[in-house]
Amino acid sequence: MLPSKSHAAHARLLDEVGAVDQVGVEERVAKFTTRSIKKAAKVWGLRMAVSMTDLTTLEGKDTPGKIDSLCRKAVRPHDDPSVPSVAAVCVYPSMVRRAKAGVAGSGVKVASVATAFPSGQTHQRTRLAEVRGAVADGADEIDMVINRGAFLSGEFSRVQDEIAEVVEACGAAALKVILEVSELETFDNIRAASFLAMGVLRPGDFIKTSTGKTTLNATLGNNQVMIEAIRDFYLDTGIAIGMKPAGGIKTAKQSLQFLIAVKETLGDAWLTRKRYRFGASSLLNDLLRQLEKERTGAYQAPYYFSEAAESY
């Protein structure tokens, strides 16, 4: 008997995009953590990381007040005027209007999660309606989740078609496709899902690791698998897709290691917030703390940094 259709589809997809060896990936990324970034290079990296941050609050208890303080922090993260504003604020659809007002005129984008974030387990028509609603409210960017259930049961065309529909629903808004890597489990699957998504994305859209709502989020390993997929796709098609690791990046040191991975894998053209983002909240204040340490030579107490993005 031949393999079942879904099994054959899975095999074909893996065959097409190639295998990934977990041990090898982990060996590769361990080298990024031994890079030693000092002085001007460190300041450059820290500022770059600030400018790439999607400052995020995604909680049931989000209120307009919380959104206001998040937006203020996003626009002006620190008293030091040389610190750039972050790339975007990332909120639930119901908060898009409020956020839009909060960042008005600053250049900071408003990103909205949609498509029944974080599980995605509802009707596609509902997911699309949510996207359209967020875009209508003014969202500049949409962070969608893929249908992991469909992926794991081998319905790849369905996964891809759904993404294509969301692309269409986005209109002019940029799209970030969340693979939810911890639910895909293997690096082979993460690479395959990256290609599925990129196959229907537009230049300037992103793929993203995770929702931040599961136990394992962005790691250097899954970041590496995804940026290598982006690199291979770019060299093959000329279409440059962006990358957003999200969740679990809490320290400045970690963010520099991710940026080193980008520098050495995708090159200089991806060292821009147009193509690389960090989905984070507590990261921002650690970046500021390190910047202040570089500027003044001493670590400052945490209460010198406004805590407007943390969850309590």
């Binding site: 990934v20 290079a41 294509a164 599925l196 060299l235 093959d236 000329g238």
Partner: protein, 494 residues
């Protein structure tokens, strides 16, 4: 998967590895605590050479003199063997447990001074600090720990037989892993109860003589370990000495053969760990990005100064273009330069002589028609440096596919079938190591039996462990180092 028309940009899509985010220098600043002059270490003391001669050890990264090293002549080597012979009786009579204590002490003292030793190793030999810090020094300590663990269990090392030490053993080690090769040689010899006369390579004597300080601090009885320094002549004296019970050599096949000729007809035991020209074989189902990483690790680790370096890449024709393109992109981000900088991936070539050898063989590759690729990189003006180099279009009869280059130079050949891969991989007088990259487990097992190499790595390369025996086939030598097998090479079985 939906396919989409390629945009016209695809034809010129390339990656930019430029200077947008240039790293600041990040030098390792620990003090290597070098002495201006290093004497011989004989009978537990540092002694001036009776030869009255010395030579300079320079830093290959900047050609500056690091220290003056004693040059041992015949009288010095005699004195070293005499000290060893005097120490042998009491040392071999000690219980294994007591000998183990010394080895544990040496291992711990080495760990205590790890940064200092790493910096000294890098300055003397030119290897990147991240390698001496993360590989050479920890691995050297691991070998002492491993063999310390064996010392009190020797009655179990050869079930049904009993083991006894051989006597005073003569050892000569190379310059590519000075401290680590020393640990590989010293630890099993001492655990078994032998005494040692060891000669480090002339360009890298310093960490051996620093280790002598640790041996003193560990209270190792005088004469159990003796270090004589010098070049080939001293080495010949150590290897040919009539009171050596065994000689162990790691170095070139040419010198190994000369030693074997010298010792032919005597009853002295030998172990030889010689050259290599390892095949790293990539099949079309391999995880390509990780294979590329393994290829880079296989040939550019320690500037390619590795006897088991994967210096011949055999790549399956369906994926050859892809592998080569990815390899070229990967080596563009290798950082070549100051070995003491923590971000350096490729440090300095060990000596002017070795640099000349590499240049000569690379020139031969070009003149024989292979296609050379070197990424753009700026090399320091002073010091001995060579950029990472790939050769494509190499065939079995090219010199660069046959001779050991011992530098950061990879020869790329292709193959069509598994049989052809095996045939080509084995078509060399050497047989030290090989690598296989495939997603298919059964193919790994087949390759590991058919490849005539002492070590076959599967989906990895240049992995070492003290418990894993290392050694060669054919002209790569005989005898093993590490593991139970390596220990038995220092024992008389009865």
């Amino acid at each position: 998967m939906a396919t989409r028309k390629k945009q016209p940009a695809a034809r010129r899509a390339g990656l930019i590895f430029g200077d947008l985010w240039e790293f600041d220098p990040a030098p390792e600043t620990a003090d290597p605590k070098l002495k201006a002059r290093y004497d011989l270490f004989i009978g537990g003391k540092f002694v001036r050479p009776r030869s009255g001669r010395t030579f300079d050890s320079i830093n290959p990264a900047n050609e500056r003199k690091l220290a003056e090293i004693a040059l041992a002549g015949a009288a010095d080597v005699n004195a070293a063997y005499a000290a060893g012979a005097k120490a042998f009786g009491p040392w071999s009579a000690l219980s294994g447990r007591e000998r183990g204590k010394y080895l544990f002490r040496i291992a711990r003292l080495l760990q205590d001074r790890a940064r200092e030793f790493a910096v000294a190793e890098t300055m003397d030999g030119g290897k990147p600090i991240k390698e001496s810090r993360d590989f050479d020094v920890p691995m050297a300590a691991a070998h002492f720990f491993y063999h310390a663990g064996w010392a009190d269990k020797l009655e179990y090392v050869a079930p049904g037989r009993s083991v006894a030490p051989l006597g005073v053993v003569g050892q000569v080690i190379p310059w590519n892993f000075p401290l680590l090769m020393l640990a590989w040689k010293l630890a099993p010899a001492l655990a078994m109860g032998n005494c040692v006369v060891l000669k480090p390579a002339e360009t890298t004597s310093i960490t051996a003589l620093k280790l002598a300080e640790i041996l003193q601090d560990a209270g190792l009885p005088d004469g159990v370990v003796n270090f004589v320094t010098g070049a080939g002549e001293t080495g010949a004296l150590v290897m040919g000495h009539p009171s050596a019970a065994k000689v162990a050599f790691t170095g070139s096949t040419e010198v190994g053969k000369a030693i074997m000729r010298q010792l032919a007809g005597t009853d002295r035991r030998m172990t030889m760990e010689l050259g290599g020209k390892a095949a790293n074989i990539v099949f079309d189902d391999a995880p390509i990005d990780q294979a590329v990483e393994g290829i880079v690790n296989g040939i550019f680790f320690n500037q390619g100064h590795v006897c088991c370096a994967g210096s011949r890449l055999l790549v399956h024709e369906p994926v050859a273009d892809q592998v080569i393109a990815k390899l070229k992109a990967r080596i563009r981000v290798l950082r070549v330069g100051d070995p003491l900088d923590k971000n350096t991936d490729l440090g300095a070539i060990n000596s002017a002589a070795q640099l000349a050898t590499i240049r000569r063989l690379v020139a031969a590759g070009v003149s024989e028609g292979a296609v050379k690729y070197q990424p753009p990189c700026i090399l320091p003006e002073k010091g001995f440096y060579f950029p990472p180099t790939l050769f494509t279009g190499v065939t079995q009869s090219h010199r660069i596919a046959r001779e050991e280059i011992f530098g950061p130079v990879l020869s790329i050949l292709t193959f069509r079938t598994v049989d052809e891969a095996v045939e080509k991989a084995n078509n060399t007088p050497y047989g030290l190591s090989a690598g296989v990259w495939t997603d298919k487990g059964s193919r790994i097992l087949r390759m590991s039996t058919e490849l005539k190499a002492g070590v076959v790595w599967a989906n990895t390369f240049n992995r070492f462990d003290p418990s894993s025996p290392f050694g060669g086939y054919k002209e790569s030598g005989f005898g093993r180092e590490g593991g139970r097998q390596g220990l038995l090479d220092y024992a008389k079985l009865t």
